[in-house]
Each structure stands twice: as C-alpha cells, then as structure tokens.
C-alpha cells in the first residue's frame, strides 16, 4: 500500500470516515478533529504497519494529512 493510501486508510478508520473523502491539504486538528489521544492512536497504528518507533515530538510537528503522508513516505 502506498503511503497516501496507508495514511488515509488508518485515519479514515480512526475517525469513522471514508478514506476517499480525506484530502491531503486537510489539517489534522482543525479540519479533522484529531485530538491528542487520536494523534497517539494514529502513531500507534502507523508504528504497527511500519514496525518503527515514531517519536511523539515528530508527530506533534505534523499539521496536515500531506505532512503525515510525507513523513510515512520517508519511513518506508
């Protein structure tokens, strides 16, 4: 699964939204309502997929769906 598909699949499941409805420019907190617990879950799910440990501060710096896709792309 490519990074964009991976991120929207996980994010869609966490938020209860259709992954196809997620846009790259959407902001995690302001547009999608990703609170601090959801952000931790997002990290947890991506760590499961990529078998990597993602430092909390690195995720905190990500603002948009595109940022997460780019971050994950760099991991893969």
């Amino acid at each position: 699964m490519d990074p964009r598909q991976q991120v929207t699949t996980v994010l869609g499941r966490l938020l209860g939204l259709d992954p196809a409805s997620l846009q790259l420019e959407q902001r995690l907190r302001e547009d999608l309502g990703v609170d601090s617990v959801l952000a931790i879950e997002l990290v947890y799910e991506l760590e499961e997929v990529y078998d990597r440990t993602i430092p909390d501060d690195e995720i905190a710096a990500l603002e948009t769906v595109q940022d997460v896709v780019a971050y994950v792309g760099a991991l893969a």
Binding site: L14, L15, G16, L17, V37, I40, E41, E47, E48
Partner: protein, 413 residues
C-alpha cells in the same frame, strides 16, 4: 417526590428495542442458543456450551464508526439501548443538559477489549505496543462515559458495579439522585457483553453455569425448576429514562410507571453463595416496600432474580414466601432469565423493563421451562403467560459479594 419511567430501550437476544423484547418475552421465546466459538478454542474446552448471545448486532447500523470503534461491545449495547430510551421518552437532552444524568450498571466492563490487549501483550512480549485505547475502553464506567458524551447529558455520570445486581442498584441510586435534587432526568442503562474466552471460562470453572442442556439450549435456563443446573450467560443492554414527575409533566411526557422504592443491603455471608435462610433477601424486599410507602398486600407481581442455579432460586422462593406469607401463592412471579439467560450487570434493567410493561398491560411474561418447581413451589409462577391486575411490582437482584437490591414499581397514577 415521585419519580416516573418515561422511556424504554433494549438490545437483547430476543429482539432489538423494548417492544421487540417484550413481545418476544410474552410469547416465551428463548434467546439461548449453542455457543459461538470463543477465541479460537474448541467448544469442548468449555463445560458450558450455550449462551444467550445477541446475534447479528452490527454496530455500524446504529453508531458512528468513529464512536463504535472506541468502545467495547457492552458500551455499544449501552449506546443503542440508551438512544432508544431517550427517543421513546421524547427527551430533549440538550434542552436541560446539566440536569440530565447517566447512571449505568455493569458487572464486568470492557472485557473483550481487555482480553485482546492482554493476549497481544503476551504474544508479542511488547509492553510498548499496548493499544492506547485499552484503558479508556476497559474501565467499568466507559459505557456511562460514552453515553454522556454522545447524548450531551451533563448531570451526574455514575457507574454502579455490584456484579449481577449492578443495574438494579443503578436504578436505585438514580432514584435517590432524583429525589435528592442532583438531576431532573436520568438515563439508566444496564449493559454487559462478557461472553468472552476468559470470563466465560471463569464462570465454567466456578461451576455456576448450566452444562446439561447442550442438546436443547432453549431449555437450559429454567429458573425455579427442579432440573435447573446453573445459569446461562446472556448479554445485552436495557435502558430506562427516569424523571421527576414534575419534569415529565412539564414537558408533557406520559409516565409508563413509577419507581417508588429501593433498598440495598449486604448479606455479609459469602462471595458467591447466598445465605440459605433467605432472610436477607426478605429484609431487602421489606425495606424497599417501606421506602416506597407501599403495603406488602398491595404487591401483585415479583420479577425474581432467579438465575436458574440450584442454590439461589430455592433461597429466593423461600424469601418470597417469608415476605408475602399467606399471599405467597397469589402474587404473580416470573423470572426474565428464563428467556434471555443471565445478563449479569444488565439483568436488573431487563427485569425493570418487564415490571414496567407488566404494570402497563397486566401481562406477565412466562417463566419458560418450568415444569416442576419442587422446593421452589409458588402459586404465582407459571411456564405460561399470565394476566393480573398489578398495581405494584417488586424487582429483586442479588449479586456476588453478598449484596442485595430490591426495587418497587407502581402503576402510573
């Protein structure tokens, strides 16, 4: 101050919704079937292989997927039953959100989530890979919490956990809260979903569940019958909206029944086994009647706790005889667990639902599988549906840890 019931909801093994539950109950339909495989273990590994499971429950059909995934099955049941009850009551929670409370009863909590996380921890040997939702999903107040969050109710948000009597005590505590001015309306919900590989095995080990009716699951839950050999585990949720009469009347809501009295006692006897003399149960019923200000002679129906265990049912029959004396064979009695098994923390709320419907209609659901009551003989018990002029109903619920609850419901006035 009078407290009335204005709405009902249910997720049960015999129907979705309070009306579906009640009409199935009146026809004596059993929700007990062969156990679905648990956790990949062969069914032969379990002494008991039957249960009252809620088949075909699809959370996505009722709940936003973003909410459903956060909580355990028991809390999903609670959400659905609560929403039905609020809708049935026509209660606009947002209109007086700070005066609407949530009181939940649950005996086991989010065990499905809990067991999976525990399995994963040991399989992976990775404490750093425990799911972040684990703690908020397993806590016993997760059902009350998510019901409050999704409905917007901002009054007291309380969970009562007293094993098999949890939701009966939740109803009682909600009654006290309403009379004490803590809220004007309360969503009371009992919910349980603990037919899990570990919990089910634990009850098997305790030898409290039926193991002789694998050939005929629907005959296994037989409260007060001589051939009873243990309870059948059920699951589900039942919800009731309680309101002060003034609050209900101000918004034009019709009371279905009144919750008039409550008593809570301890037996100080044994973690599992009820005290054989039945005097503690009898005392609880008498205290609840006194709390309601109702004479014993006014009682027309008892919804018995009767779980279908050899010890418990006989003690309760003795207690009913002790309380009602010469009228013990006249008072109508039924046991809801005959139909849906023992839903543990949800059982009291299901019994309360039956009490309300009996007070409304005069119909008493059958105690199916009762062929010979033996030492539990009470004249008002029947395997068939009964009818009577019932003005007052008593609900009993007893729990592990030696605790008792009785509630008194009255016909709406």
């Amino acid at each position: 101050m009078r407290v009335v019931v204005t709405g009902l909801g249910a997720v049960s093994s015999i129907g979705l919704g309070a009306e579906a539950f009640w009409s199935a109950a009146m026809t004596g339909r059993s929700g007990v079937t062969a156990l679905e495989p648990l956790g990949g273990f062969p069914l032969e590994a379990y002494r008991c292989r039957i249960a009252g499971q809620v088949h075909g429950f699809d959370p996505a059909a009722h709940l936003h997927p973003g909410v459903a995934r956060k909580v355990d099955r028991y809390a999903q049941f609670a959400l659905v039953a609560s929403a039905q009850a609020i809708d049935d009551a026509g209660l606009d929670v947002a209109a007086t959100a700070e005066r609407v409370g949530v009181y939940a009863g649950a005996g086991m909590g989010g065990m499905i989530f809990g067991e999976r996380a525990y399995d994963k921890l040991h399989a992976d040997q990775r404490p750093d890979r425990v799911h972040p939702r684990f703690v908020p999903a397993i806590t016993l107040n997760s059902a009350a919490g998510i019901v409050g969050i999704t409905t917007g109710a901002r009054g007291p948000n309380i969970t009562v956990s007293t094993a098999c009597s949890s939701s009966a005590h939740a109803l009682g505590q909600a009654l006290l809260a309403l009379r004490g001015g803590l809220a004007d309306a309360v969503v009371v919900v009992g919910a349980e979903a603990s037919i899990t590989p570990l919990v089910f095995a634990g009850f098997c080990s305790l030898r409290t569940m039926s193991s002789s009716f694998e050939h005929a699951p629907e005959e296994a839950s037989r409260p007060f019958d001589v051939d009873r050999d243990g309870f059948v585990m059920g699951e589900g949720a039942a919800a009731l909206i309680l309101e002060t009469e003034a609050h209900a009347s101000a918004r034009g809501a019709a009371p279905r029944a009144e919750l008039a009295g409550y008593a809570a006692t301890g037996e100080a006897h044994h973690m599992v086994i009820p005290k054989p003399d039945g005097l503690g149960m009898a005392r609880t019923m008498r205290l609840a009647l006194a709390h309601a200000g109702v004479a014993t002679d006014a009682v027309g129906y008892v919804n018995a706790h009767a779980t279908s265990t050899p010890a418990g049912d006989a003690v309760e029959a003795r207690a009913i005889r002790e309380v009602f004396g010469s009228r013990a064979d006249e008072v109508l009695v039924s046991a809801t667990k005959a139909l849906i098994g023992h839903t543990l923390g949800a059982a009291g709320a299901f019994g309360a639902l039956a009490c309300v419907r009996t007070l409304q209609t005069g119909d008493v659901h059958p105690t199916v599988n009762l062929t010979d009551p033996g030492d539990c003989a009470l004249g008002g018990l029947s395997a068939r549906a009964q009818r009577g002029e019932v003005d007052v109903a008593v609900l009993n619920a007893f729990g592990f840890g030696s605790n008792n609850a009785s509630l008194v419901f009255r016909r709406a006035r």
